[in-house]
Each structure stands twice: as C-alpha cells, then as structure tokens.
C-alpha cells in the first residue's frame, strides 16, 4: 500500500513543462522584438546610411552561418526523433553534431567581429565616431543584436552539452525526454532569431 502511494507521489507533467518553456520563449521573442522594432524605426529614419553600412558586412559569412545554424537545428530535431525511438547512441551523435555546428557558428562570428574591430568598428571606437550618425546607429544595433544572439548561442551550447550528458547517463530516455524537447525549443528559437538577423544586417546593402 505504501509503495503504491510512493509511486504515485512522483508528479510528472510534460505538457506543463513545455508550456513553461514556451512562456519563457515568449519573453525572449519580446526581448528581441523590441530590438527589431528599434531597427525598423532607425532604418526608416536613415535608409541611405543603413544601406551603406550594410555593405561593410560580409554577406558570405552571414549566409554560411545561416546554413550552419539551420543544420544544427535539424540535428537537434533529429536527436529527439532518435530518443523517441529509443536509439540513445544516434541521439547522442545528433546532439554532438549540433554542438560542433554551434561552435562553428561562434568561430565564424568571432572571425567576423575580429575583422570589424580591425577596421576600427567596435562600440565607442574613435573611427566609428567619425562616421555619419545613421551608420553609427547601424553598427550599434549590429553589435547589440548579434552580440545578444551570440550570448544565446553560448548559453544554448551549455544547455545542449548538459543534455548530451543526461542522454549518456540514461536520465533522458525513450519515455522521459521533455528536458531534451525544451532544450531543443530554446535552440530552435535562437535559430529563428538568426533567420531574421540575416536579411536585416547582412543582406541590407
């Protein structure tokens, strides 16, 4: 009798867990949404400066990073399919692929920012202060938005690493994987934000 009561005492609500995650993601959407609104207002105010400053960005790197992030999203989705089918090793392989792709994204981002810094383009740089006002605003938004996005990628990599460990330890398994689903939701949202950042900055010129 007491064993039965104990078995029922473990509360589990996968839908509730996903709802909680979505509510958090909604606040993330509004956080970036505010920045998107700021961008669109500033672009309508300084169309020529945004066009000119956008030409400074390397569209090839932007597009490459888009493909890297889209693929990393795919492998996260596939790792969930694998765990649903009880294929732990495959799930771990897909998660590892996502981690590698996430690191690739950051490496490309770092190269790109390094080139900008080299050209005297970084927040509060003396060279930046000599540029037209609209271009200063463009680079301000560029560093804020891609920087905040990059921070999310770093956090996402930490979360996915933890998921990989949990799958390896068997804590995430075929009939208990809502943690992995929620980690995936976070990673996909980071992907969606980048989907918007690509045309706003890299294809603006």
């Amino acid at each position: 009798m007491s064993e039965l009561v104990q078995a029922h005492a473990v509360h589990r609500d996968d839908f509730g867990a996903r709802l909680g995650m979505w509510l958090f993601l909604v606040t993330e959407m509004v956080l970036f949404g505010g920045l998107f609104i700021a961008y669109s207002y500033m672009r309508s105010t300084y169309p020529a400066d945004f066009h000119h400053a956008g030409a400074e960005l390397n569209a090839t790197l932007g597009v490459t990073n888009t493909l890297v992030l889209l693929t990393s999203s795919l492998t996260v989705a596939l790792s969930i399919v694998a765990i649903q089918r009880g294929d732990r090793l495959k799930s771990m392989a897909f998660l590892s692929a996502s981690l590698l792709l996430g690191l690739t994204f950051l490496a490309i981002k770092a190269t790109e920012w390094a080139a900008k810094f080299h050209h005297g383009l970084y927040p509060n740089a003396p060279h930046l202060a000599t540029l037209p006002h609209g271009e200063q605003v463009f680079f301000g938004l560029y560093f804020t938005m891609t920087g905040l996005h990059g921070l999310h990628v770093i956090i996402g990599l930490g979360v996915l690493t933890y998921m990989l460990i949990q799958v390896a330890r068997g804590r995430i398994c075929q009939d208990r994987y809502v943690q992995l689903e929620n980690a995936g939701l976070y990673w996909h949202l980071v992907d969606v934000i980048w989907i918007f950042l690509l045309p706003l900055f890299y294809l603006a010129a």
Binding site: D14, F15, R18, L19, W22, L23, V26, M29, V30, G33, G34, I37, S40, Y41, S44, H51, A59, V63, T66, L67, L70, T71, S73, L74, V76, A77, L78, V81, Q84, R85, Q174, D175, V178, E181, G184, L185, H188, L189, D191, V192, I195, F196, L198, P199, L200, L203, A204
Partner: protein, 103 residues
C-alpha cells in the same frame, strides 16, 4: 529513408503521433532553398531585398516554429500563446509606425 513518416508512441498522453527523420530533413531542405531565394532576391536591388525580407523570412520562421518546435503536434493552448505574442508585437509595430508616419 525507409521508415514511415509517422510513428506512434506512448508518450505523455498516449495518442501523440511523432514525425520521423524524413519530415525534418524535408523541412530543413525547404529552409535551405528559401535562404537561397532570399539571397538571390537581395541581388536585384533594395526593393526586391525588402520584399524578400517581408515575404520569405516569416515563412522560414513559421517552418521552424511549426515543425522543428513541434507546434504542429501541440494542442491549441501553445499555438494561442505564440499567436498572442506575435499579435502584440505587430500592434507595437503598427503603433510605432502610425506615430512615425504622421510626424
């Protein structure tokens, strides 16, 4: 891939059908093609680039939300949560630009 697109599993409420590997690979392929289209449109001048941004980007975001983020397979509550958020942001946009337009 030989497996069927949908396999059922006794997950939380028992009746949920899970999509297979193939579904996600197809969605990824659509996303890659749309990205190519977006880049192509940006080469035909500023006007075309803006149309690409306004038309293709939301479709890409929808694909990720609907398939990768499993909204397709969720009940109405989560869909409503997302739609209310997007609607709120759209109202913010509209209010801002109605102000900007009449300065």
């Amino acid at each position: 891939m030989s497996e069927s697109a949908l396999t059922s599993s006794a997950h939380d409420d028992g009746s949920v059908a899970h999509p297979g590997y193939g579904t996600f690979v197809k969605v990824w392929l659509a996303l890659v093609i749309l990205t190519g289209l977006l880049v192509l449109m940006s080469h035909f001048g500023q006007g075309s680039a803006v149309w690409g941004l306004l038309l293709i980007t939301p479709v890409k975001a929808w694909l990720v939300f609907y398939f990768f983020m499993h909204l397709k397979y969720e009940g109405p509550l989560l869909k409503v949560v997302v739609l209310v958020t997007l609607g709120t942001m759209l109202i913010f946009f509209a209010l801002l630009f109605s102000d900007v337009a009449f300065r």
